[in-house]
Structure formats: C-alpha cells, structure tokens
C-alpha cells in the first residue's frame, strides 16, 4: 500500500531546545499510526509541523506524493489533511452546528458570497449534521458550543475534522481529560473511523493506543527511538525504560 | 555642518524623551498585558505638576522633584483604583476603560488649571549654552535632558537585568502565573511596575515642559508616537523601545529640518512649506509600515529586556 504521509529529517528548534530531531516516518494509507512518548517529547510540535502551524527548520513532508513542506496551513486542510487540537479550539461563540458547518464550508470553494443566508444552505448544513451524527452530537446541534461539556467538546473537535472529509486525520490527544466512559466511546468511534481514514494518533492513554494502533512510533526528546507494531513496541527494552516503565510506575505497576 | 550636528542632537534628545514615554508603556504591556491609553495623561500631569510646584516653591529643581513624586503617587492610585480590575480582560476593555480615563483627566486638568495651559521657565543656570565641540554651542538644558534620559536608560537596564525586582519583572513578562505561584506578591509588583511607568511618563512630561508645552491634550498627541515606537521596537522590549525611539526621534527631527529644503529643490517655496510638515510626519508612519511588512512582531519582539 502506498505511503500517504512520508516525513523525512524533520527538525525544529526553539532557541536552545530541539523540539523535533530528525524525525522520519512513513504511514501507508489506511493505517492507524500512534505516536507516543513522555511529556515534552515533541509530539505536539510534530503535529504542528504536519498541519502547517509551524514551519520546520529542516526536513520534508510528503502527503499523497506531493511535497507539502511549504504549503500554508489553510491549504493543507483542502488537500485532505485535517487536524484536531489537544487544547479545545472551537468557535465557542457559535452554535455546535455552525462549528461543523464552517468545516464543511471550508471545502466548498471560496466564501465571497454576501447575500444568501448560510445557515439555510443544505449544501453546508446537511454534511455538517451528518458529521455531528457520526460522533453522536446531533441532539446538541443548536446549542452554543460554549455550553457543551469537555467530553462533548472533544467529540465536536473530531466532528469538525470529519466534516472536511479528509483523507487523513491528525489527532492530538483526543482523549485528553475524558473519563472512562467517554474514553471508551471515543475508542470505539476511532475504531469505526479507521476503516475509512488514515489516522495519526498522538495519545497518552496506553490502553487506547494498544487497542487501536496498527503501528506505533515512540518519541523521546524529539527523537524516534523505536517504531513498529504494538507487540514489538511492548517488548522493546529501550521503550520500556524510557517510557512504558515510567507509565507503569505512574499507574501503580 | 554645525546645524546638522545640532539637529542630530535635537533628534537624539527628542528620541530619548520618547524612549522614557515608550519604556513605561511597553513595560506595563509586557508585564501586565495592559494596554494603557491614559499613559499620555500621566505625561501631561508631570508637566502640570512641575509648572505648579516650581511656581509655588520658586525652585525649578524642587518643583521637578515634587512633580515626579506626585505623578508616581497618582500612577499608583490609578493602578489600585482602576487598573487592578482590568487585568486578564480583553484588550478592547483596556482600550475603552483607559480612553474613559483620558476624558476624565483632560477635564480634570481643565477644571483645576483652566483651559489655557501653563508655562515653566528655566532657571538661569540651565538657560545657557554649552560648548560641546569647537564651534558648536548647544542648549545646556537640552543637553541635560539627554544626560538624564541616558542615566535613566542605564538605570532601567540595571534594574531589569541585575536586580531581584528586575528578575521578577522579566519572569512576570514570560509567565505571570508562575511568578504568582512562587509566592511573590504579584499585586505589589504590578503596582510598583505601573508606578514606575507613571514616573517615567511624568519625567518625560516635566522635562519637555520648559521647551515644548504644558497644555491639555498634549498627552494624546505624543501617545501615538509612543505607540508607534512600541510597535516598531516590539511590545515588551525596553531595548527595542530604546532603538526605535532614537530612530523615530532622529527621523522626525531631521525630517522636519531638511524636508522643506529637500522639497524646495523641486517645488515652489509655498508648496514646500505647506507640504513638508505633513509629509515629514508621515515618515515615521512609513517606517512603521515598513517594519510591519518585514517583521510584524517588531524589531526586538517578545519578552526580552
């Protein structure tokens, strides 16, 4: 299967700190690839570079065979690469449905239309409702986004990423701050999505990671220290020392 | 040539005055994230206080010292009464609230001192010229402005870079919550910083009083320049404010001095005389526009010195 996303020598420094250090990755279409690592390992910086929010100091990013390293953020979404945010980043002043509809609108050509009421356009509202239904938020569609619970915000994050009908999703800690029930819901949703999309998943929740991932990359201090299928990673001594051991200690063994 | 050197010194002097004003503005914004439009009002009060106290005590120096103290007190009072409630709010709220303060102070001054402004005359020992270079005499007072301003700049450098308070200021600029969590009395720190900014504004106001103006609305006129300087230099950076202020001072002064002559090369005397002031005041905004195009965050952006 062809690689949908290919990353070579990706590096980024902030002053004296090397956030990502020569990262290389190749993700074939249809795979759910997890990226794990301790805090400060550079995971969010990696996603920021992949989505175009940060410009790498060196390296290349290839998506669907074209070099997107220099492509600005707004254009990457149009190419089919969508991202969700670790810290909820929604349009809190607008309704839930408006949020999803904006994600749809972004993909339907230019928006220099000044007259027709956008909230009455089925071309925008229908796919938006569909995306909300996908994550189970259709009952809350008319509420202002600010009125949702944290768990629902994470779901809306996902819905917006889906509403743009991407080929690949970059998910930055979608389970952040979710309780056990909500996490389980999210995991089963992601399992469904796996069947139609390629996913890069950054997560701390190890249960979810090992339940969902086809392959896992481990980052420590901005470097890839291991990459392989879940079994290989679980058995990798380096990874255990650097990260999983720490995780077990935290969870009480 | 002598005229050129004199104009350069004028530009430097003007630039340093602007630096004092801009330093206070950028400090307050950098540390407390507070946009203070009423900064110009403190500048105005410094001038009015100086003129009043000098007249009362019949001593220029005493008047100046008292004015500085008074402005500092007013600044701290404003911080405690009004500014405290603005921290953490939208910048638009800051703009509106401090705009309200400008209206208030302008009218207050009009009420207390009347509408026609005041004057502050120099004592005889300052009202002379000093021979700084063979053949070049420069106003002793303007020279003293340069010296005092430079001294303040050096003082600020040491304060921010070498003292504990300075360290807190720099830390606060990058992470307010952390500094609070460390057990530092943030409220007191903010009041001190705001007071410092007020004192700087007041100092600038009273220093220019004998040579420029003491009138209502003087704060608004110069505030724009201070803003432009903070944008060019980068908000929160005192070093940036210094460089930008000198640059702006020189460009503005030299521009006004020589633009007319420059224009006269191609246009008539009348056209040059009328167009020159308008165009030379544009130079600064042109500079700002260029900086914005090349580096939107300013020359020395973010929490630095």
């Amino acid at each position: 299967m062809a690689d949908l996303l290919r990353v070579e020598n990706l590096s980024k420094r902030f002053g004296g700190i090397v956030a990502t250090d020569n990262i290389a990755m190749a993700i074939p279409e249809g795979e759910l690839h997890a990226v794990i690592g301790p805090n400060g390992a550079g995971k969010t910086t990696l996603i920021a570079q992949l989505s175009g929010q940060l410009v790498p100091d060196s390296g290349q990013i290839h998506f669907a065979d074209s070099d997107i390293t220099a492509v600005p953020m707004y254009a990457r979404s149009l190419l089919g690469l969508a991202r969700s945010f670790q810290i909820t980043s929604l349009f809190l002043g607008l309704s839930v449905l408006d949020n999803a509809a904006l994600a749809v609108q972004a993909r339907t050509g230019h928006s220099f239309h000044f007259w027709r009421n956008a909230r009455h356009e089925p071309e925008l509202r229908d796919p938006a409702r569909a995306a909300l239904a996908r994550v189970g938020l259709n009952a809350r569609a008319a509420l202002p986004a600010a009125a949702l619970s944290h768990g629902e915000h994470r779901l809306l994050e996902l819905a917006m990423a889906l509403a743009s009908q991407p080929r690949m999703l970059l998910l930055d800690e979608p389970m952040a701050g979710l309780g056990p029930e909500e996490s389980a819901r999210m995991v089963s949703m992601l399992r469904d999505l796996k069947k139609e999309l390629t996913i890069l998943l950054v997560e701390h929740d190890m249960e979810a990671v090992f339940a969902l991932a086809d392959r896992i990359t481990v980052l420590v201090y901005g470097r890839v220290i291991a990459s392989g299928n879940p079994e290989e990673i679980r058995r990798n001594a380096q990874v255990r020392d650097a990260y999983l051991g720490e995780q077990e200690a935290v969870h009480g063994g | 040539m002598t005229l050129f050197i004199e104009q350069c010194l004028n530009g430097l002097q003007f630039g340093l005055l602007l630096f004092l004003l801009a330093a206070g503005l950028t400090l307050v914004f950098g540390i407390m994230d507070l946009v203070n439009l009423a900064h110009g009002s403190l500048y105005m009060l410094g001038a009015y206080f100086a003129a009043t106290f000098a007249a009362w005590t019949d001593s220029f120096v005493l008047g100046v010292v008292l004015a500085l103290g008074a402005t500092l007190l007013v600044g701290m009072a404003v911080e405690i009464i009004a500014m405290r409630r603005l921290y953490g709010r939208d910048h638009l709220d800051h703009v509106l609230a401090t705009f309200g303060l400008i209206l208030f102070f302008d009218e207050l001054v009009r009420l207390v001192w009347g509408p026609s402004g005041m004057s502050l005359s120099l004592p005889s020992w300052l009202n002379t010229s000093v021979r700084i270079l063979p053949g070049i005499d420069y106003s002793a007072y303007k020279l003293s402005i340069i010296i005092v301003s430079l001294a303040v700049a050096v003082f600020l450098y040491f304060l921010v870079m070498r003292t504990r308070i300075g360290m807190l200021i720099r830390a606060g600029a990058s992470n307010r919550e952390m500094v609070g969590a460390l057990g530092v009395n943030i409220k007191l720190l903010f009041t001190i910083v705001f007071g410092l900014g007020a004192a700087l504004a007041g100092l600038a106001g009273l220093m220019q009083a004998p040579i420029l103006t003491v009138q209502i609305g003087m704060g608004e006129n110069i505030l724009i320049l201070a803003f432009v300087i903070t944008v060019i230099g980068g908000i929160g950076s005192i070093r940036g404010a210094f460089v930008a202020a000198i640059l702006v001072g020189l460009i503005d002064t030299l521009g006004r001095a020589y633009f007319t002559d420059l224009l006269r090369l191609t246009f008539t005397k009348e056209t040059a005389a009328t167009a020159a002031p308008a165009l030379s005041s544009m130079l600064i905004y042109l500079l700002m526009a260029i900086v914005l195009v090349i580096k939107p965050e300013g020359l020395f952006s973010a929490s630095g010195k």
Binding site: - | A97, G100, L292
Partner: protein, 315 residues
C-alpha cells in the same frame, strides 16, 4: 415563537417608528434643534454600523475608523471647493477614496493582531489627520466651509432639512439591512469564525486574511458614506472629524449599544449623543462624568444596551 414579541424586538420597532415619524413631531412642536440633533445621530449611527461590522462581528479592534468619516467628508468638501457640486460625482468619489484607503491601511494593519492592530490603525488614522491638516489650500487646521450641499436631481434638495433627514435615515436603514445580510452569509460566517478563533479558521482551510481585508474595506467604504453625509449636514469639514478621539467615540457607541448585534450601533449612537447633550446641560465639564461612566460600563455592563434588552425578556 415567543421570539417575535420579545422586549428587544418591540423596543426596536418602536424606536424605528419614532425615527421615521420624528419630522412630523418636529413640525408639530417646532423644535428644529431636535431634527438637527437626530440627523447627526442617524449619520453617526451609520458610521457605528460600519464599525460594528469589523469590530462587533469581525473582532477587529480598529481605532482609526473616524479617518473614513474625514476622508469621505473631505472628498465632498474638496470637490465642492473646486466647484463640483454634483452628488453623482462627489459621493462615488467619497466611497472610492474611502475604499482605497481602507484597502491600503487594512492590507498593512491586518498583518498584525490584538493590541498591535489597535495601535497601528490608530497611527494610520493620525497620519491621515496630519496630511489633511497640512493641506493649506483646503483650510488646513481651520477646516473648509462647504458653500452648497450635494446636488442631485430635482425635486431632491438636500438643503431642505427634512428631506436630508429622510435621505440619511433611508441610507441608515439600507446599511443595517446590508450588514444583516452580509453577517449571515457565507462571508459573514468566515468573519464571525475568524473573530471566535482565527487560528482554527486557518487550520480548517480558510485564508482568513483576504476575508478580513474585504470586510475592512466594506466597513471603510460605508463609513466614507457617513462622512459625505456629515459634510453635508455641517456644511463644513475639518481635520477634527478624524482625530483619533472621534474613533474612540465610535467604539463607545458600538460597545455601549451591544457589539455584534444588528441594532446595537443605533442604540449606542442614540445613547451616547443624547447622554452628551444631557450631561453638557448639567455641567461644562461633562466629560469628567462620561469618563468614569465609560469605565463602569466596561467593567460591569457586558453586552451593552442590546444585551440589557435581551435580559429583560428572560429576567
């Protein structure tokens, strides 16, 4: 649908009706001053409506909006000075020049954000002020008197105060309607989204700069129209029209009336100007009261007048 007869809607309808019937009231009571005052209110409300588009809906805190009042006004004034009195030339010129300035200023200013943006728009407006004040031919600091009001086809005569009032009112209503349509369109969604979370907008695929710039130009042009009206109203233009404190007045109107609401700017304009009239009747130093009053509104009066009316329904 409780929505239709809400306090806010009823109050608004009554207000609009009152504005339409004002000249009748003036005829009956002979208080011509009221007509002059409300013509001014209507014109400034138009300016506030244009500011609300970029500030209330777009989140762009422009502190230089009064510049377009001056630019539009001076376009009319300068043309009148040169003997061109036709409104068909003056008003399009006012719109065109305002649009051009908004394009230039917006293109540069929108490269910045937050407080930088506030300061930059402020500085550019002052620049325009100094340019205009330096034009000796057109009165400089003292301003320029306009001999005749803009001429259109008979029977339209702008020197007739009642006719002029209705022209201004019609343009105000048209602008409010225009802004309403823009704000709810796809374009409006982008602008509102951008106000809420600009980074997210870009992340999902919107090149927000070009939309904000377009919005900025629309607002500037609309304000230029207000400027042309203002010039006719006062038969006079001066640089003071565009001094940055006037921009502050406009912002106050928008915030006082309720940001991001359709009729908010109108409420705000009425409130501010009537407040000024009332306060100046009490004391010469009325700004001493207005200043702290503004401070209090900012600290405690979220949502402005529009918000207050909305609360009455629920409260």
């Amino acid at each position: 649908m409780s929505g239709w007869l809400s306090t806010r809607n009823v109050a608004t309808a009554v207000l609009l009706l009152a504005l339409v019937l004002l000249p009748v009231y003036v005829e009956l009571t002979g208080s011509r001053f009221l007509l002059t005052l409300f013509t001014r209110i209507v014109i400034l409300a138009l300016a506030a409506v244009s500011l609300n588009l970029i500030l209330g809906y777009g989140g762009m805190m422009s502190f230089g909006h009064a510049a377009y009042l001056g630019i539009g006004g001076y376009a009319v004034g300068m043309l009148a000075f040169e003997g061109v009195y036709s409104g068909f030339v003056q008003w399009p010129a006012a719109l065109a020049v305002s649009a051009l300035f908004a394009l230039l200023i917006g293109a540069l200013s929108l490269r910045t954000r937050g407080v930088y943006f506030i300061m930059i728009t402020l500085a550019f407006a002052q620049m325009a002020y100094y340019i205009v004040a330096g034009l000796a031919r057109y009165g400089g600091d003292d301003g320029l008197t306009i001999q005749k009001r803009s001429e259109f086809f008979a029977p339209l005569n702008l020197s007739n105060k009642v006719q002029f009032y209705y022209v201004c009112l019609t343009l105000l209503f048209a602008s409010i309607y225009l802004v309403w349509r823009i704000v709810n369109s796809r374009f409006g969604m982008v602008i509102q989204g951008s106000r809420s979370n600009d980074t997210r907008m870009r992340a999902i695929g919107f090149p927000t700069y070009r939309y904000k710039l377009t919005c900025f130009v629309i607002a500037g042009t609309l304000c230029g129209l207000a400027g042309a009206l203002l010039a006719n109203h006062t038969d006079f233009v001066s640089p003071a029209m565009m001094y940055w404190t006037r921009s502050g007045d406009l912002i106050i109107m928008v915030v006082l009336g309720g940001m991001g609401s359709i009729f908010g700017p109108l409420f705000g304009a009425i409130a501010l100007l009537i407040l000024e009239e009332a306060l100046s009747g009490i004391t010469e130093y009325w700004q001493i009261i207005l200043g702290p009053l503004l401070l209090l509104v900012v600290l405690f009066g979220r949502g402005g007048i529009d918000g207050l009316l909305g609360k009455v329904r629920h409260g």
